[in-house]
């Protein structure tokens, strides 16, 4: 057991820190070209797609370096390393694993250059947790697939140029995981319609996407026809280690603690209320637990073992915290927490600041598998309880 970094890892951490000092100064952030400059310099460092193999333009960063880079960036509150988020997280890795040489040439550099956004067309009105039951249909017609159907809860669909789309090409299968085909579809193709969904926090990040006889060239097939499920499984596996989230959670907790310190309840700071303190300390221990669970998962990965269902642990903690932070902030702030924006004649910056966070939890809690799905995974795959 050893939580220390090796000299090489420490050197890399210092390199990241000095880069941050140089490029993330408070004055620098005010520069109108800040974001453009930032993307350019992290790209030059090959920190965009840092975990991608170097031959595809990525950084070829080892597991430990990835963790260091992400953690330091998250601690510094830095902008993302590249803005093609879905592209970097899902689409790029899937193309690297399953794509043709032509697809690699066409898509990977654009993702690394933050040229445009990708969205992921997975969930459907009838297929959420049971994703493999999806029905959006693709039929081969010469050199093209013809797509008909609907996707929903598609993040960023209204500003994406491409969508990675799961379709059903074969309904006559014994196992519903078969007969799924993954297509890369241009969002301005004729027959694609995006209808934004306004969520309860007032944002329209999600959308419904409709496909009406959309024609997709066969060269945009990712992987084999009928074997598209494998493509998603590979992509989804990247999401759950939880280490990089911890720095963000620590900063969220610190904000709630500050709120508790400056908000007075019953004539004293809310931070002196034993009930509030207990909840804050529970959140603190849980975040530290997530960090250390993450270290255990990391140890496993460093030993070359595959991570499996145990990462659901942190997903469950994450869901609890997303709801808890929102509720806690509202409880501390009291009646005034109901403002969704600061009234023009008030100068208290806390007004209107917390409601959207409290209303935004479903995206965190449900995305990537609901808590009940995580519990099923743990109970069935780890504890060996019978399947439903």
């Amino acid at each position: 057991m050893d939580f220390n970094l090796t000299p090489e890892e420490e050197a890399f951490r210092d390199e990241v820190r000095s880069f941050i000092r140089e490029h993330l100064s408070p004055e620098g952030r005010k520069d109108p070209n800040f974001m453009g400059n930032w993307l350019k310099s992290v790209r030059e460092k090959r920190w965009v797609g840092f975990n991608w193999p170097a031959e595809y333009g990525g950084g070829g960063g080892g597991i430990m370096e990835q963790v260091i880079l992400k953690e330091e960036m998250s601690k510094a509150g830095g902008p993302p390393l590249g803005t093609s988020m879905m592209g970097l997280q899902w689409v790029g890795p899937a193309i690297i694993e399953y794509g043709t040489e032509e697809q690699k040439q066409q898509f990977l550099p654009d993702i690394l250059d933050s040229a445009y956004q990708w969205c992921t067309g997975y969930s459907e009105p009838g297929s959420g947790s049971d994703l493999a039951s999806l029905q959006c249909k693709a039929v081969r017609d010469g050199d093209e697939y013809v797509v008909n159907g609907q996707k929903i809860w598609t993040s960023g669909a209204s500003y994406s140029k491409w969508i990675i789309l799961l379709t059903r090409t074969d309904s006559d299968v014994e196992d519903k995981h078969d007969g799924i085909t993954c297509l890369l579809v241009e969002m301005d193709s004729p027959g694609v319609e995006v209808r934004p969904i306004k969520n309860m926090a007032g944002s329209s990040h999600f959308a419904e996407v409709f496909f009406d006889n959309v024609r997709v060239p066969v060269k945009n097939l990712l992987g084999e026809e009928g074997k598209g499920w494998a493509v998603t499984v590979s992509a989804l596996a990247h999401e759950r280690s939880g280490i990089s989230e911890v720095a963000g959670l620590i900063s969220q907790l610190a904000q709630v603690v500050q709120l508790a310190k400056r908000t007075r309840k019953n004539g004293r700071p809310a931070s002196e209320d034993p009930g509030i303190r207990r909840r804050l300390s529970k959140a603190d221990a849980m975040i530290e637990g997530m960090r250390l669970n993450g270290q255990r998962f990391l140890t496993k990965q460093l030993k070359g073992e595959k991570l499996s269902s145990e990462t659901s642990i942190n997903k469950l903690h994450r869901a609890f915290l997303a709801i808890e932070f929102g509720e806690l902030a509202l409880e501390i702030q009291g009646s005034a927490s109901q403002y969704t924006s600061r009234p023009a004649d008030e100068d208290d910056d806390d007004l209107g600041r917390w409601a959207s966070g409290a209303l935004g939890w479903p995206a965190v809690v449900i995305g990537g598998g609901t808590p009940n799905i995580q519990r099923n995974i743990i109970a069935e795959r780890i504890l060996g309880l019978p399947k439903d």
Binding site: M1, D2, F3, N4, L5, E9, M64, S281, K282, D284, A285, M286, E288, G289, M290, L292, N293, Q295, R296, L298, T299, K300, L302, K303, E310, I313, L316, H317, N372, Q374, R375, N376, I377, I378, A379, E380, I382, L383, G384, L385, P386, K387, D388
Partner: protein, 364 residues
Amino acid sequence: MNFGLTEEQEVLRSVTRRFLDERAPMATVREIMESPEALDEKLWTGMAELGWLGLVIDEDHGGAGLGWVDLVVLLEETGRGLLPSPLISTSLAPAAISEFGTAEQKQRYLPSLADGSAIGTLAVLEESDVVGPDGIALSGTPDDGGYRLNGTKRFVHDAGAATLFIVPFLADGNDIKLGIVEANAEGVATKSYATMDETKRMADIAFDNVPVSSDAVLTGDGTAALARLLDLAAVAVTAEMVGAMDKDLEITSQYAKDRVQFDQPIGKYQGVKHPLAEMYVDVETSRSLLYYAAWCVQEQPESLPLAAARAKRTRASRSSASASMAYSCTAPSVSRRSTTFSCISNAPSGRFRRSETPTTTTVA
């Protein structure tokens, strides 16, 4: 970065488990539970022979010279097996003497603690019911270079079995010092009693003008030393709780697979399987916090207070919930076995007391 156990630590775990399976199965645990001091001499000798009692005592003083991560591996197992013994207590006494004792004190006390001929414990709690330096009022009146102690310590673990006590006291009304007091010293009177955790014994210790000579006082800042020892105690107790919880989960999961109602194993119902998944989350997260705290003991002492608090906080708040879950899954065939587990959680509620209903062996 390596958050895993070494091969030696894995061996320690499996050897410990095998020893406990063979020498202290549940039937034996129940017998020991009924004995006056919840201690079995033969078993104690066996534990000493395996080097458990001097695990963290250095080799120069008869110990194995291992670290707190190793000790936590051991305590997780004794917690799993609900082993009644003063192992935690007697591991804290040498920690106090090793870290804050003089060379002479180490020479005098550590070898006998390592071979089990002496049993130590930490006597902290007083009338104030405050676990920490602020709660210490036991008076130490200066006398001939040493002190005379007057007052009472309460709920002292294993005080009935112990031969020596590490006693924090208020020296001359001023600062806290830690004295080593032998159980047979003049003016010491202990009164043992059973508590809700029947695998443990506690006692009150009355001090009536008990002399503590200057060479029996530990060195350094007593307040800091006491805080450090309490952090170590938190780590040790958490280790036992994590082990017990892990076994609880194992038993309950197995029961949920075996027990058939409405023509299917009850573990198929989400109402049963989801709480079991939550137990798993609790056990594993507690274990992560626990092992980090154990690592901090020697490698990063400045981080220990927070790490120990986080570990114990998480474990303690969840173990009673998990015990209650184990109940609701196994009810009505709540066995004495699982209720015994629950007692270890230090749950303050009477509903975790041992059930007097006829016991079944379904779960055990």
